[in-house]
């Protein structure tokens, strides 16, 4: 995994104070949330398709060994090669060797979270191979040595002035006096610069949104067309995808594709959806001579068949991020993890262990909106809770957290004690508040009162008043 500081609280504080980021995050809420609702309204079959997509994914997962073997055979039949990678290191080794065998000096890359998961770019650069991200957002993130901050909108946190500054620094050879005032200016410059890379690349590496067993096909969706220039121009096309990307048939891919863009951006369909099967055929006008698919495990097989099995159904649409109140306030980088938002909060502990990622499932109000919008109905809140159970069982919560919980549990299991203690406590609190009805400060309650008043209790508890009423 790309290693980032996992200090969510400190990161969150910085993110909350970052005015530019906060402004940018409003775009997520206003844009993606509204657009998904509109897209859903335009497709009456939407919810039924979600049930079917979920069923397809779960069926595939429960037969994954058989589908993998069939997929592998079909890829070979079409002239391609499948390579299994148990770990991130295995994947890097395989891809590095393929690049070296191809004599690669320049590699273009379509957007692939999995390639970031295995730290591919760093590995290639270390071997003297230039690796250029071609998705515009990823290109800019790469320029800034940053991870993407959102599953499908990698630089949603940046404004165009910042990007213009980055372009001037990175594209040093271009005329210093040129205009880079508008988004159109920036896109035009990126198009020109990256066009040269597309044409010169020896190897193109893409991810895959889906792998189709029926035909041995990898599917990539983009709006830009960058993945297409990446996978059709160079002599070698390498696909890196994790094993759970598999679906059985072309029809199954249709069901999922109907949900993917609608859920993530509210588009009916992405501009480009490309189905690649093997290398170029005899007589083809263009296309790569070599086609390789690297199938990454890296912790997925451990999730199979267990509590977090359904997380493997994720189609990486980004809807959960877009609707999450926590993501909406702190953005992606604050999570300190490659995968962010609700899906990241469930997936990351599975990949790196709960001990190294405990803030992720804990920093949630469990509002449940993520599950409401997930196209494959992953029960994300239940899984967040399941991580909390593991976290608790491992003794990870702080002494304060555990003590507070224990005290509450102790008291609530003993009603008479509870009623006596609570009566006494509420009397004190009410007295402290006086007639004001609220407490601005309270010992031990700083976490609440730092940003909120604490409404005062009425003074007597319900049980006290009810007892009085029934007596009198």
């Amino acid at each position: 995994m790309v290693a980032l500081a996992l200090d969510l609280k400190a990161n969150a504080a910085k993110a909350l104070a970052d005015i530019e980021l906060q402004r940018a995050l409003l775009n997520v809420k206003r844009g993606f949330v509204t657009k998904r609702a509109e897209a859903k309204a335009r497709l009456p079959e939407f919810d039924r398709l979600r049930d079917e997509a979920r069923a397809i994914k779960l069926h595939t997962l429960s037969h994954l060994d058989l589908y993998l073997e069939y997929y592998e055979r079909k890829v070979a039949e079409s002239g391609g090669h499948v390579h299994y990678a148990p770990t991130a290191e295995d994947a890097r080794e395989i891809i590095l060797k393929l690049c070296r065998d191809a004599g690669a000096k320049l590699v273009t890359k379509g957007k692939s979270m999995v390639s970031e998961e295995i730290g591919l770019n760093v590995c290639l650069e270390g071997a003297g191979i230039e690796a250029v991200e071609t998705d515009l957002g990823e290109y800019i993130a790469q320029m800034r040595h940053e991870a993407p901050s959102h599953l499908i909108a990698p630089i949603i946190h940046l404004n165009k002035e910042t990007i213009a500054g980055d372009f001037r620094r990175a594209h040093a050879g271009l005329a210093p006096g040129r205009t880079l005032a508008s988004a159109a200016d920036l896109v035009a410059e990126a198009r020109a610069v990256l066009r040269q890379k597309f044409l010169a690349a020896d190897v193109g590496i893409t991810g895959a949104n889906l792998l189709i067993a029926e035909t041995g096909t990898s599917v990539v969706v983009t709006n830009e067309g960058n993945a297409d220039l990446t996978q059709s121009l160079p002599k070698t096309h390498i696909v890196i995808a994790s094993i759970e990307k598999l679906v059985p048939t072309l029809e199954d891919s249709c069901t999922i594709l109907r949900l993917l863009a609608r859920s993530g951006t509210g588009q009916e369909i992405t501009t480009y959806t490309t189905f690649s099967t093997g290398p170029r055929r005899e007589g083809d006008a263009d296309g790569p001579r070599d086609y390789h698919v690297v199938l990454l495990d890296n912790g997925r097989s451990e999730m199979l068949g267990g509590t977090f099995n359904d997380m493997l159904a994720c189609i990486r649409c980004g809807a959960c991020l877009n609707h999450c109140p926590v993501y909406a306030t702190i953005g992606g980088h604050a999570y300190g993890s490659l995968y962010t938002g609700p899906m990241g909060a469930v997936l990351t502990p599975a990949l790196v262990g709960i001990d190294h990622a405990r803030d992720l499932p804990n920093a949630s109000s469990l509002c449940g909106r993520c599950e409401d919008v997930c196209p494959v109905r992953i029960p994300l809140p239940s899984m967040l809770r399941a991580w909390r159970e593991r976290d608790f069982a491992r003794g990870n919560p702080t002494f304060l957290e555990r003590t507070a919980l224990k005290l509450w549990a102790y008291a609530t299991k003993r009603p008479r004690l509870y009623h006596a203690l609570s009566g006494a406590t509420m009397k004190v609190l009410a007295a402290l508040a006086g007639r004001s009805g609220r407490l601005k400060r309270l010992p031990f309650a700083g976490a609440w009162t730092q940003s909120r008043d604490l409404p005062a209790p009425q003074g007597k508890t319900f049980h006290q008043l009810y007892a009085k009423r029934t007596r009198g």
Binding site: A53, L66, P86, K160, A183, L257, I269, T273, T277, S301
Partner: protein, 228 residues
């Protein structure tokens, strides 16, 4: 065992461990084979199930709303006139890089003497490309273009302006109907190297969520439907 054999065994063994699937299980295998062979469809949106006229209307409406230009003509002469008119109206270059599809090669190009035709794989300096869609799915205004002899995939992406010809009889309602067409042409369980679904011109919203055309692929997509 080679490293790659070892890796393969490791991953598949782990998967079988997790699923408790080490013993051969006829029912599991039947399940899988059945689905692969019969490839059942899920729910197909009602919008895809209209009659042919409705499909054509949906197809063009979706393409238009997704930023493509659209023209419906009734004969090959109309195709050439539409292309010439489009390029002239927008003051675009008149040299066309054309894929070597017979239906494109045999168009009556003489009707538009100012257009210059160049065939085959595109060069990076080509400004206008013309290719043919093998089928169109009305449900989202999606063109299916396939790789092949004389059909360079790069032609769909390199030139700034991309013009696509599709026959009205090749416009179907749903993605599934389109895939069935391809199965008819290529057989079961196989596909050409590339099938491109194209539903509009290239775009990005990565910068401040502002939509800009022509991120890496074509800035313009024009679709000509031949309905004759």
């Amino acid at each position: 065992m080679s490293v790659s054999e070892e890796n393969r065994t490791k991953v598949l063994d782990r998967v079988r461990d997790a699923l408790g699937a080490h013993a051969p299980d006829r029912w599991r295998e039947v399940n899988v084979r059945h689905r692969l062979v019969t490839h059942p469809s899920g729910t197909i949106p009602a919008r895809s199930l209209g009659n042919h006229e409705a499909c054509l209307a949906l197809f063009s409406g979706m393409l238009a709303s997704q930023g493509a230009n659209f023209a419906r003509v009734h004969d090959p002469e109309g195709v050439v006139k539409a292309i010439a008119g489009y390029l002239t109206d927008l003051e675009l270059p008149t040299e066309l890089r054309i894929s070597e599809e017979p239906v494109l090669v045999t168009l009556p190009w003489l009707l538009a003497p100012r257009l210059k035709q160049v065939y085959g794989a595109p060069s990076p300096s080509d400004k206008v490309g013309l290719s043919r869609a093998i089928v169109g799915a009305a449900e989202t205004g999606t063109l299916f273009l396939v790789s092949g002899a004389g059909n360079p995939t790069s032609l769909n992406f390199l030139p700034e302006t991309h013009i696509v010809l599709v026959d009205a009889g090749d416009v179907v309602g749903s993605y599934e109907a389109a895939w069935d067409r391809l199965r008819g042409l290529y057989g079961e369980g196989t596909l050409p190297r590339t099938v491109n679904w194209i539903s509009g011109p290239s775009r990005t919203a990565d910068i401040e969520q502002t939509i800009i055309r022509g991120a890496h692929g074509p800035k313009r997509l024009a679709v000509v439907i031949l309905d004759g």
